[in-house]
Amino acid sequence: MLASHQDLLRIAPELILCATGILIMLLDPFLAGGHHQETGAGRRVTDVLAVVGSAAALASTALLAWNRGTAFSGLLTADALSIFLHGIVCGVALLVALGSPAYLDREHLPHGEYFALVLFATAGMGVMASTEELVTGFIALEVSSISSYILAGYRRDNERSSEAAMKYFLLGSFATAFLLYGIALVYGASGTTLLPNIDSAASHTTLLAIGFALIFVGLGFKVAAAPFQLWTPDVYEGAPAPVTAMLSSAPKAAAFALLLRILVSVSEASHLWFWALWVSAVLSMFLGNLAAVVQTSVKRMLAYSSVAHAGYILVAFAARNQVGTAAVLFYLAAYALMKVGAFTTVAWLGGTGETYVELNDYEGLASARPIAAACLALFLLSLLGLPVTAGFLAKLYVFDAALHSHLVWLAVILAVNSVIAAYYYLRVIVAMYMRPARRPFTRERIPAGVAAVLAITAVGVIYLGLFPNQVMNLAIQAATMFSVSR
């Protein structure tokens, strides 16, 4: 069957991302000088291509909005949810494309492969965001995962980076095996892998239940929720910081999208998953926050904090109402902004070889690098959930969703965890603002790309904290499209 032009319009962002990725790969050999080293000009060409490609993909989500509907016989759908998530995923790609060149230059890493992989990974996540079919979801997940595995080990001569890649690959393969097996069981029980049809076609409920339990394990791994979070700290710490910025935000959003679609379409999963979501949320919050408290490395601390944030998002999931769905989406948008901002700052402050990522290294930063310190403080306060930042409203919506479904205990646990989290976020601020510098700081200008990322994310965090109406409207539109089956 040939794809109609409508079908193609509905995957416009993916097409653009893949095309740009392929173009970069094709150009890469020609841009290289001797010894497979890219020339300065060649690098700039790939940098610009990556930025233009991801920006175009971001812009082309508008095409999705104008051509809503299903594509490829119902495998994909362009609806409010997929548009919202495409915004996040492509936005993150754009921010990563802006923030990475300075890092790659500093670490003497090739640009071409890097950006091609970033774009391919993003394309995979984009498909995940819009798929309504499990096998397509699986393939999309693999496309994004395999690119991510390589990106995690991109600092080849760095032990930690290689370890991160290996760990991520092994555990990730294991988790995808769970996912695939689950999909097979679901297909066995219902004879279909199209999510909207499963409910009516299901004949064998036990098999279906086991299938969805396995799928939950697979996706739980991807969103770094406890008890499947073990890979997170090592991978986030070992991967190049700009890659961590991407890993901690975009794939999570994509995996949450799939989780959301399953939860919404399949009432069986929705029932079965409630306690799984509840327990996983509580575990993620406590494990993530308590482990983050004792970290000495800021990068690793932020890694654990993303486990905790996965827990917060799961609280909204467990609410299983439309408020919760909207809360999840708003949270993902806010979270992407603050995490990308924080990791980009960490990447830049780390210096060559990411030497300065320990808490001690941040002492006295406020006087030496006031702008970077102020931005990082803002992101941390937003992660902590203080008002006037996006993080506060995101948390407010999660609380609201939980209480709307009478999950009072979950709300109280979330509240307690926010206080635990305050301790380790504030510790970084203490180091930056209240301690004298221990190491000499060289005067450095913030590279233009990094400055752009910081400006966009910082303004975005405050803007979403003060004027959330437009984004919230989009989230609510996406949430009202389908009502959660109970």
């Binding site: 109402n321 439309q322 408020v323 909207a326 306060l381 203080l386 008002p387 006037v388 506060f392 409203l393 407010l396 609380f399 609201d400 209480l403 709307h404 009478h406 009072v408 709300a411 109280v412 509240a415 307690v416 926010s418 206080v419 305050a422 301790y423 504030l426 203490v430 603002y433 209240m434 301690r435 959330p468 109406n469 919230m472 409207n473 609510i476 949430a479 009202t480 009502s483």
Partner: protein, 537 residues
């Protein structure tokens, strides 16, 4: 001056001033100070217009402003002022001027950041006092934490980081549970608007089961009790007050603690009257323990600043006792005592800060005989101490008298125990005064200490004048707050229980038509834009 946006102006002028400070050069200390002083003075002068426009006979909110802010869930920018918050706003603007003056020479590092923090803090505190939307209130409540955190943590004394962290974590633990309570209220009533919630509760359109009301009361109470601080939640206070720079201590003791008692009066009592009445004896017990405990601990302090800090625990115990005695006299007294404590303790911290500027210690043993080198500071210290211990003619007396009188009418025993605190306060204050200022000059370096400079003198005169004025002209203050206090106590009455129509947690939105009320989809009940006429007034 147009009064239409007076509260917005008051709330955001300091923040705008802080933004302007950001533009100045960081090493231009003189102009940073001048600009900060100008902004805070302008703010104070503008706040005086509130008195002129204030209608003392009206019990409701005045200078109201109402705008949509966040559509879903419906959070409004709703400001308003009544007799309860009027003088707390004035106290804030006044003490900020004093705080700026007190920091003139004692802050020499990161001057720009200091004054920015101070002004942002002022915005936060005023916002807390004038917000009538629960989420807006919460936003200001949390926003003010950050500048205070920096004030203590960057410009404080030796153990500043520990104190700052403790302060933030304590406050946050209480406030985040309050946020859960706020959202619970929202899920039961469908609005965050305080006057609207009050009228819904009062007309019996929304009711809570006793258990739910108790839980909600607890969620709010904990946040405020930590802030007050009520015994045994007070342990953050001595550290925060002692380690903060002088201006920080003035703002902490003067205004921030009042946010706790203000919250009790504004939210806990009128929203959850049954739970308040039920728990009043226990709260009063804690308050009395706090009064006596705070006083006893003050008595044994060797650190002058810590002594003043603990005296706050004792004084705020009086305020809480007055509030939970629930008579109009005692509540009026509690409200007045909030102002008194702000002025008197603010002045004490100012004086202690002046001693610190000269000797860089708070240790009482390091002083002694200071009346000889610095008679002016000594006499002001005595005057302020007398006001703090409640000498008639001065402000402290009026508040304590009203509280004890009002409490005695209903709960004589409470008043008897609380009165012990009055005696103890004379003891620790006068004893500390004696050890610090009287006797021989024990340390040689104290002999040559300079007396108050012109700047310090003007600050002290301002404080002393206010202390005397509030002591003799108290009706000017209580007269304006009377109507609002009466209204708050009236708000605590509820219509008779009409059977089992109690809204437990899964209450559908009470504002929606009944045919929609049952379903729980978002479109119909939860985030529906508030019904027309939802603002009842």
């Amino acid at each position: 001056m147009s009064s239409a946006h007076l509260l917005t102006l008051l709330t955001f002028l300091p923040a705008a001033g802080a933004m302007t400070l950001l533009l100045l050069r960081g090493d231009d200390h003189l102009w940073l100070r001048r600009l900060a002083l100008t902004v805070s003075l302008a703010e104070f002068v503008i706040s005086l217009f509130l008195i002129r426009g204030f209608d003392a006979s009206a019990s409701g909110y005045q200078f109201e402003e109402f705008r949509n802010w966040i559509l879903q869930p419906p959070i409004h920018y709703h400001l308003g002022l009544d007799g309860i918050s009027l003088f707390l706003v004035l106290l804030t603007t006044f003490l900020t001027v004093i705080a700026v003056g007190a920091s003139w020479n004692s802050i020499q590092e990161k001057v720009k950041g200091f004054f920015i923090s101070l002004l942002v803090l002022e915005t936060g505190v005023i916002g807390v006092f004038v917000s009538l939307d629960l989420i807006l209130f919460f936003v200001f409540w949390e926003v003010m934490l950050i500048p205070m955190y920096f004030l203590i943590g960057i410009w404080g004394h030796e153990r500043r980081v520990y104190a700052a962290m403790k302060f933030v974590l304590y406050t946050m633990l209480g406030s985040i549970l309050m946020l859960v309570g706020i959202l619970w209220l929202f899920n039961a009533t469908g609005t965050f608007d305080l006057p609207l919630i009050q009228s819904l509760l009062q007309t019996g359109r929304v009711t809570f089961s006793p258990r739910v009301e108790l839980l909600l009361f607890g969620a709010f109470f904990l946040a405020f009790a930590i802030k007050v601080p009520l015994f045994p939640l007070h342990t953050w206070l001595p550290d925060a007050h002692t380690e903060a720079p002088t201006a920080g201590s003035i703002m902490l003791a003067g205004v921030l603690l009042k946010m706790g008692t203000y919250g009790l009066l504004r939210f806990c009592l009128p929203l959850f009257p049954a739970a308040s009445r039920r728990l009043a004896p226990w709260v009063a017990l804690l308050a009395i323990i706090g009064i006596i405990y705070g006083a006893l601990v003050s008595l044994v302090q060797t650190d002058l600043k810590r002594l003043v800090a603990y005296s706050s625990v004792s004084h705020l115990g009086f305020v809480v006792l007055g509030l939970f005695a629930l008579s109009s006299t005692s509540v009026a007294g509690a409200l007045y005592q909030m102002l008194n404590h702000g002025v008197s303790t603010g002045a004490l911290f100012l004086l202690v800060g002046m001693l610190y500027d000269r000797r860089h210690t708070h240790d009482i043993a390091e002083f002694g005989g200071l009346v000889i080198p610095m008679p002016v500071i000594a006499s002001f210290f005595l005057f302020v101490s007398l006001s703090s211990l409640g000498l008639p003619m001065l402000n402290g007396f009026v508040g304590e008298f009203l509280i004890l009188n009002g409490t005695f009418q209903h709960h004589a025993r409470w008043a008897v125990f609380a009165a012990i605190g009055v005696i103890l306060s004379s003891l620790y204050l006068l004893w500390a005064y004696q050890r610090t200022f009287y006797g021989e000059v024990t340390k040689e370096q104290n002999r040559a200490l300079p007396d108050a400079s012109a700047r310090e003198r003007s600050l002290l005169w301002a404080m002393a004048a206010l202390i005397l004025f509030m002591g003799v002209a108290s009706p000017l203050f209580t007269g304006r707050s009377e109507a609002s206090v009466e209204r708050t106590l009236e708000d605590m009455s509820r219509p008779a229980k009409t059977g089992p129509v109690e809204a437990r947690m899964p209450a559908p939105c009470r504002l929606c038509p009944p045919e929609q009320g049952g379903s729980r989809t978002m479109a119909s009940d939860h985030w529906a834009p508030s019904a027309p006429g939802a603002r009842l007034r």
